[in-house]
Amino acid sequence: MVSGLINANPVVYEKKERRVRSAPSDADEYAVESIDQQEVFDHIRDIKDPEHPYSLEELKVISEDAIEVDDHRSYVRVTFTPTVEHCTMATIIGLCLRVKLIRSLPSRYKVDIRVAPGTHSTEAAVNKQLNDKERVAAALENPNLLDMVDECLAPSYE
């Protein structure tokens, strides 16, 4: 057992089957395609956990059901569940989710990220930090943090 990990033995779950998006045969290639839960999930499911070689999907940190999308209002809320309730990696995971969605969704989108109610010991503090864009902008100018985020995001671009 490796010492020093926040959660040394996480439960690993099976990945959900990848669905192929069905395209109607008379699809107009110029039509605006609306963004749905599945698309948002596909953007973030392969993000790697900061301390384990598993994806956020495999650790059930995120699931499709915990994504709320209102394409008409250009709004997404992702609720994630840290593997342990005192997880100090929660802000890094939240930062990864935010960065991936900023890079993947159209700029008109407003994104809220939060930890699932009752799953983290400092829930309010983590949520406040993740939704303060000034703190997020400053964090992403920190080379060490940015490296960490990019490492977690690398698998999701494969």
Binding site: R108, K128, K133, E141
Partner: protein, 360 residues
């Protein structure tokens, strides 16, 4: 002109492009736009630069006259002109504050103020231009005094906020400093002994019942504040989606040689539906607010309360729903005769607006 009787429209005069990242803040040069001097303002951005914009006297169109770069190494978060319009202070995430001087059309960095441990978030000059305040994520507020030859000495480091300080703003006439924070409070700082003996004299805090006295503060990060022209009212805006108006009794403030307690007058809620980042009170008492819902709203005092004693003290004058394609980070009224407003956004653009009466 009676504001509440007339109908207004917001005209987009020009959209200014040039910054390559989000525009965080902007500041009008206070001595421009009058006596034939063309309007000038500065903007600062996540692209680490500051841009100086000037209105061409011949075409009335706005042009970028200078790009101030290679000094700050990270986001430039805040900028402010000295009251004389000669110096521009810029605060950056690189933990420094730079002082720029306009020398024959060229802007030179004449001083760099170091001391904060991390991101500087706001800079503000006092009314006489002798003092500069800065604040940072390190939870402190610093007061600097300008000396001969663009030397700046730190005369006070103010500790009291429990989280990062988002904005500092001097009172428009008195040497009283206000700061607002991620800790949900607004603090008032005064030089009590008159000998750089700066201390926190009041905290406008979270909603609570303190000794039977209800304090109606903000319930989340306070992002910005602005004073009315005479300085007896202040508006604050917050992540709690409200604007709050605070008032002070000016007679007792003058007799007390400056400081008198501020109290909550009213809360404007139910308008913006995402974080309100910026608020600015015009000389004509129009409050402009810009928010993460991409909208700009205008509020005025409600002089016609329909006979209701408890009617709202302020009402919505008008709103511009899609003012920008992304979050509105800063709204600033121009000096001078015109009713111009500049807005800065995450979409990388700045817009110049004119609030004008609807022509019949």
């Amino acid at each position: 002109m009676e504001l509440e009787d007339g109908r207004f429209e917001l005209r987009e005069i020009q959209k200014l492009e040039g910054h390559t990242d989000r525009v965080w803040s902007l500041a009008w040069n206070p001595v421009t736009g009058v006596a034939g001097i063309p309007y000038v303002f500065a903007s600062c951005s996540g692209d680490k630069t500051v841009r100086i914009w000037e209105q061409s006297p011949s075409t009335a169109s706005w042009e970028c006259k200078a790009v101030l770069e290679d000094t700050h190494t990270r986001t430039v978060r805040s900028c402010a002109w000295s009251p004389s319009g000669k110096l521009l202070a810029t605060g950056s995430f690189d933990a420094t504050t730079a002082i720029w001087e306009n020398v024959g059309g060229d802007y030179e960095c004449v001083s760099t103020l170091e001391g904060h441990e991390n991101e500087v978030k706001s800079v503000s000059w006092n009314a006489s231009g002798t003092l500069l305040a800065t604040c940072a994520r390190d939870k402190t507020v610093w007061i600097w005094e300008g000396e001969q030859g663009n030397e700046f000495d730190c005369v006070a480091v103010l500790q009291g906020h429990t989280q990062d300080v988002k904005m500092v703003q001097w009172h428009p006439t008195m040497d009283i400093l206000f700061s607002c924070s991620y800790d949900n409070t607004i603090k008032v700082w005064a030089d009590e002994g008159g000998d750089d003996d700066w201390a926190c004299v009041q905290t406008l805090g979270e909603p609570n019942n303190c000794a039977g006295f209800l304090v109606s503060g903000h319930s989340s990060t306070v992002w910005a504040l602005s004073f009315n022209h005479s300085g007896d009212k202040m508006v604050t805006c917050s992540d709690d989606l409200t604007l709050k108006i605070w008032g002070v009794d000016t007679i007792s403030a003058q007799s007390a040689n400056g400081y008198a307690p501020w109290r909550h007058l009213c809360t404007i809620s139910g308008y913006h539906d995402r974080t309100i980042f910026s608020v600015h009170w015009s000389r004509e008492d129009i409050i402009a607010s810009g928010a993460a819902d991409d909208a700009i709203r205008f509020f005025v005092e409600n002089k016609d309360k329909d006979g209701l004693v408890d009617g709202p003290l302020y009402k919505l004058l008008m709103k511009e729903e899609k003012a920008h394609d992304m979050d509105v980070n800063s709204v600033q009224w121009s000096p001078g005769e015109k009713r111009l407003l500049a807005s800065a956004s995450d979409d990388g653009t700045i817009k110049i607006w004119e609030l004008a009466p609807v022509s019949c």
